[in-house]
């Protein structure tokens, strides 16, 4: 068990690093693949002397100022979303659950759409206005959904999902109204809704990073508990788990991570739903593996999607949410098909 964990984890991290390097080569200026690790390692003070500088200074500028910050925020957003997705699916024991199940994304969208519609998206604190408002409205929505779902101090899963769906529909209508009313030819609200990672400097990663680290530690700490929750809530209670408290902690953690990710990148769909499922099809139902691998897998997936988004129709950018669904759905269908075949093979 530990050996498989290390194998998958090590393989995952290598794949993530490789994806990052390949993604960094692509753009209006091509940078050779073998130079990218060298340029990056060169930035570490102690290693500076060991790696001779063999590349033009412009490469360094492009990598450090443009491409790597964008890749970094991509990894963080992807990891946050699919980690939350794994947590939601584990706690709600519903395969359709994703980070947006509790309406956080629509809450954040309302905040963002409101700011953009009234043209005040840079008014309060410059570029941070939309993220801050989106985060706040996202968390407020969660609070409302929790209040709605609560029943005598307990939060039954079905009520929670229904409350989330209702809230999503209601706030979604509100966002649609704002989109319809806005008379710009290129609808900025729509673009925010479909998600993008362009023009996100290092500062965004610095803000999102702590959410991911703390969230990961908390969710990972509950991995064993989520394994037992899969047997049913009663069963878990009989094994000494405080089910409602556990549910609350994991859902709140996952939602805060999601709200943070959405507020910097917009609503990027599909990642939180599909990456944990892919991981599950690959490694089985043990959350001690699913949780960390979802984080890594989400990072990889998002970097690939964003690379395609910015390169396929360059210089036009495809909305990220479109790409995640476009490449995710067929790949997922393939995994489902493969899983069915191996299962049949084992039975006969």
């Amino acid at each position: 068990m530990n050996r498989t964990g290390l194998l998958w984890g090590g393989g995952g991290i290598l794949l993530l690093l490789f994806t990052i390097c390949v993604s960094a080569t692509i753009g209006s200026v091509h940078i050779p693949l073998q130079q990218i690790p060298a340029i990056l390692l060169h930035q570490i003070p102690w290693l500076q002397d060991m790696i001779p500088k063999t590349w033009p200074g412009s490469y360094e500028q492009i990598l450090l100022k443009v491409r790597i910050p964008r890749i970094a925020i991509g990894v963080l957003v992807g990891a946050c979303l699919s980690l939350s997705g794994a947590a939601f699916q584990g706690v709600l024991r519903n395969p359709l659950a994703d980070p947006y199940t509790l309406g956080v994304s629509s809450g954040a969208s309302v905040g963002a759409a409101f700011m953009i519609y009234f043209g005040i998206q840079y008014s309060l604190v410059g570029q941070w206005s939309v993220p801050i408002v989106a985060f706040t409205t996202g968390v407020l929505t969660l609070w409302l959904v929790m209040r709605l779902a609560q029943d005598e101090g307990k939060i039954p899963t079905e009520r929670l999902i229904l409350a989330g769906v209702v809230m999503q529909a209601f706030l979604g209508a509100f966002v649609s109204l704002l989109v319809a009313l806005s008379d710009q030819t290129i609808n900025e609200i729509m673009f925010w809704l479909m998600g993008s990672l362009s023009l996100r400097g290092w500062a965004y990663s610095a803000v999102l990073g702590p959410y991911l680290v703390i969230g990961f530690i908390i969710v990972m700490g509950y991995a064993r508990t989520m394994n037992i929750l899969a047997l049913g809530e009663r069963e878990a209670a009989h094994l000494g788990i405080r089910v409602d408290r556990t549910k609350m902690i994991i859902l709140l953690t996952a939602t805060f991570m999601t709200a943070a990710a959405v507020s910097v990148s917009g609503v990027i769909g599909f990642v939180g739903l599909i990456v944990p499922h892919m991981i599950r099809l690959l490694v089985g139902s043990n959350y001690k593996l699913i949780v960390p691998l979802s984080a890594i897998g989400g990072g990889i997936y998002m970097v690939i999607a964003d690379t395609l988004a910015r390169s396929v129709l360059a210089p036009t950018e495809i909305p990220l949410g479109v790409v995640t669904a476009f490449i995710g759905a067929p790949f997922f269908a393939y995994l489902l098909h493969r899983n069915k075949k191996t299962r049949r093979g084992r039975m006969s």
């Binding site: 047997l231 069963e235 009989h238 094994l239 000494g240 788990i241 089985g284």
Partner: protein, 267 residues
């Protein structure tokens, strides 16, 4: 071992349990019987601590139930539910290991090495050959055996059973109850079991508690409890009760309502 003192339970205005009071001696098996909706399962959930009582007190090992944390309680008391384990992808071994959860710290380290305990239990329940198979490949009867194995790994002093044999055929019903009885004799386990099947209850329980509409009707040895009048009063059927030819436990023969008796009632 377990003392239930004047327990009431109501949901809103609906009174589900009223003034339940009894005591279970260590190492004995108490069966709770009664018709559907008489509050059997609710009573069991109150004793297991997942449902709070509305009034009254439950004392376990000389400590009130409310003084236990969920984790501390699960180190002494295990519950086997009516629904067997869901068909998930965990292997039998993994599920058995989950029985050690109450004894693990937050890192997942156990207070003691449980691998030989788990292997022994798998052997005893004939699960050794299935140990690497995932649950969703097992039959209902096999899964219920895994569920029993999991609570055995929990090493409780008290076992609560909630109609554990409902979905099993007669062979597995008997096998299951025999496993439980052997475990009880080996380890001095105290059992409270909600049982649907009065004949099984009469053969495997030392004491029977009869519930009817949330009230305690009688408690005592099966032979004293299972009388024709009481079964008629509580279950509303007209049974024939005969002693078991081998062990003497009262057994109930069901008698379908024929036209004759319907006619008699009409008179």
């Amino acid at each position: 071992m377990i003392r239930v003192e004047h327990v009431d339970k109501h949901y809103g205005a609906a009174k589900v349990l009223q003034d339940i009071h009894f005591e279970v001696e260590p190492g004995t098996c108490l069966g709770i019987i009664g018709p559907n909706g008489s509050g059997k399962s609710t009573l069991l959930q109150c004793i297991s601590g997942v449902e709070p009582t509305s009034s009254g007190k439950i004392v376990i090992r000389n400590q009130p139930l409310s003084a236990y944390s969920r984790k501390a309680l699960s180190q002494h008391l295990a519950v086997l539910q009516q629904e067997t384990l869901p068909p998930v992808g965990y292997s039998v071994q993994e599920v058995l290991e989950m029985g050690r959860f109450p004894f693990q710290n937050w890192l997942g380290r156990d207070q003691a090495d449980a691998s030989s305990l788990i292997a022994g239990i798998a052997e005893q329940l004939n699960l050794a050959e299935l140990i690497d198979r995932p649950l969703h490949e097992l039959s209902g009867g096999q899964r219920q055996r895994v569920a029993l194995g999991k609570v055995m790994v929990q090493q409780p002093e008290i076992l609560l059973l909630d109609e554990p044999t409902t979905y099993l055929d007669i062979r597995y019903q008997l096998q299951f109850m025999d496993y439980v009885r052997k475990w009880q004799r080996d380890c001095g386990l105290t059992i409270i079991a909600v049982l649907h099947d009065l004949n099984l209850a009469a053969q495997y329980c030392d004491q029977l508690l009869v519930l009817h509409e949330g009230k305690q009707v009688a408690i005592g040895k099966p032979a004293e409890i299972l009388s024709r009048e009481r079964v008629h009063e509580v279950f509303g059927t007209e049974p024939i009760i005969i002693p078991h030819p081998v062990n003497g436990a009262p057994q109930i023969l069901l008698q379908p309502d024929s036209h004759e008796t319907l006619g008699n009632e009409a008179k």
